[in-house]
């Protein structure tokens, strides 16, 4: 939807300039700026799968870093709620919590099974679920770690944590910059004053210009691969490559504004784990590199990018041949990554 170009008042040579003519324009612009800028919230979903695979679940023996996800948001991001959907058993309570830095609004635990889960499904055939609707604020560029834990034995056949996220295009770093204008309204008693007209003009142009700026309201997308073989293998690339769907640029907007990769190594001594973003022509358009040399866990440096995922038409956007893709690779010849995941942030 675009704002229609409706000009409530025409100014023409030979006409009588009444103060109300100017007021009509000012009031119209004030209303439209307020209306349009109130559309500010970007909702999104982040899925964190806490399992290695359909047949290889996490257990209490799984490395603690493998049972964790690290998340660094490019803008202040509100978790509007978190949802657990699991098919699992446990001898005791299994919880999900933030480790280390606790974001404002979080609780410990954040999610819980509420006790032991003795059967994969209950008597009614339902999975294990939990919901926490508390709002949590993840600050811009702060790394948070989300981990599943338990004091007892557990087997997480499927354990999906779904974060419902909200970002505000007018408040990406703690300061509300939503454009608000209060133009000076003239009356028939007002003396001619071009300075006030100019001030109104500047204020409205600035506000309208803010709307036209391509402000960030990004949403995340995460792909994970467990067992990223060092040095690659003939079969690895095909199971370490994930699609990024192209969108019709005439009807929609989508671009990658940040990409990070995190790797958890089996032992220290690895070299680098890379996420490579390629376009439909398989040309590399961006990379993120986690330097894991001598480390068990590393995340690539945070850097913002700008890669449009655009094609020319709706028909093109529905064709898989126009997909972008992101691929994970491990350069180490000897050290496997227990887990590697790439987090992409998508925005208009």
């Amino acid at each position: 939807m675009k704002v229609p170009l409706i000009q409530p008042q025409q100014f023409f040579t030979g006409g009588m300039l009444d103060p109300n003519d100017l007021n009509a324009h000012y009031r119209y612009m004030q209303g439209v700026v307020d209306d349009v800028s109130s559309r500010r919230w970007q909702h999104s979903l982040l899925s964190l799968p806490f399992t290695e695979g359909v047949g290889t679940p996490y257990t209490n023996a799984t490395d603690v870093e493998v049972r964790s996800y690290r998340l660094t948001c490019p803008v202040n991001t509100i978790v509007d709620g978190v949802f657990l959907s699991a098919n699992m058993t446990s001898a005791g309570e299994v919880t999900v919590s933030f480790q280390g830095t606790q974001p404002d609004g979080s609780t410990i635990p954040w999610l819980t099974t509420g006790g032991a889960v003795l059967a994969l499904v209950d008597a009614n055939g339902n999975d294990t679920t939990d919901v926490n609707p508390d709002r949590v604020l993840l600050l811009k560029d702060v790394e948070y770690t989300i981990r599943v834990s338990s004091s007892g034995i557990f087997t997480l056949g499927r354990f999906d944590v779904q974060l419902i996220l909200v970002t505000d295009r007018w408040n990406v770093a703690g300061t509300d910059i939503r454009p608000v204008v209060t133009p000076t309204i003239f009356s028939s008693l007002s003396a001619p004053n071009a300075t006030l007209v100019a001030a109104n003009n500047t204020a409205l142009t600035t506000a309208a210009g803010l709307l036209a700026a391509n402000l960030l309201a990004p949403a995340p997308l995460l792909f994970v691969k467990h067992g990223l073989i060092g040095g690659g293998s003939p079969t690895d690339p095909d199971i370490c490559t994930f699609p990024l769907l192209a969108v019709d640029s005439a009807r929609s907007q989508l671009r990658v504004v940040r990409m990070t990769v995190t790797a958890v190594m089996a032992t220290t001594g690895g070299s680098t784990v890379t996420a490579t973003l390629r376009n439909a022509a398989t040309t590399t358009v961006a990379t993120a590199v986690a330097n894991v040399a001598g480390l068990l866990v590393a995340t690539s440096p945070v850097a913002n990018i700008n890669v449009p995922l655009a094609v020319a038409s709706a028909a093109a956007s529905s064709s898989s041949s126009n997909d972008f893709n992101v691929q994970l690779s491990n350069a180490s010849g000897t050290v496997n990554a227990l887990k590697a995941y790439v987090t992409l942030w998508l925005s208009r």
Binding site: M1, K2, V3, L5, I6, Q7, Q10, F12, T13, L22, H25, M29, V36, R39, R40, Q42, H43, S44, L45, S47, E52, V54, F83, S85, L120, D127, G157, R158, D160, Q162, V166, R169, T195, A198, N201, L204, T205, A208, G209, L211, A212, L215, A219, F223, V224, D238, I239, C240, T241, F242, P243, L245, S252, A315, S317, S318, S319, D323, L346, R348
Partner: protein, 181 residues
């Protein structure tokens, strides 16, 4: 144009002011929809695992906003040659039926032959052409699927593959606008 006391201000100056501001409003990219992608991964899915516990071969999420599922894309990586893989999206809500009198909620299903390497199933959802909802039939490649905020959405997958070292990815492109709340 300089709007200052003592200067000559033409009607065209004022008209230009209004036009320029309206043009900036019209250029607001924030009013365009966002085709946001969700991806669900099913690593190592096999027919045997599916038979033993189909509950593991699904993903469940709560829809955070009112949106349209514009595309469902299924990509298999190194599944067994000539295997058949199916992904099914179900949720309650005002979905567009593909066939009159079909059960409600009706599923969105994508199925095809998977095998070695990367195989992408043919996409069946919105291709931009116009369709006719109602009368007798709504072609599957012409439908939006509306999903309402708060709906519980389920993605189920099945396969005849027996390859444990495999990766199945189901992606949804969900269209939405910036919200007021």
């Amino acid at each position: 144009m300089t709007l200052a006391n003592g200067s000559l201000i033409l009607a065209s100056d004022l008209a230009g002011m209004a036009t320029a501001q309206l043009a900036l409003l019209a250029a607001d990219n924030g009013q365009l929809p966002l085709g946001l992608q969700h991806a669900f991964q099913f690593p190592g899915i096999t027919a045997a695992l599916l038979a033993s516990n189909p509950e593991r071969c699904k993903a469940v999420f709560v829809m955070p906003w009112d949106g349209y599922v514009e595309t469902m894309a299924v990509q298999g990586g190194d599944l067994t040659a000539a295997s058949t893989t199916t992904a099914t999206l179900t949720c309650p809500g005002p979905l567009t039926k593909t066939v009159v009198n079909a059960p409600d909620p009706f599923p969105v299903t994508q199925s095809g032959t998977t095998g070695a390497g990367i195989v992408k199933l043919a996409r069946i959802i919105y291709d931009g052409t116009k369709g006719r909802v109602g009368a007798t039939y709504m072609p599957t490649n012409r439908a939006f699927r509306a999903v309402t905020r708060g709906a519980t959405v389920t993605v189920n997958v099945t396969t005849t593959s027996v390859a444990a070292a495999s990766m199945l990815t189901v992606s949804l492109l969900v269209r939405q606008f910036l919200g007021r709340t």
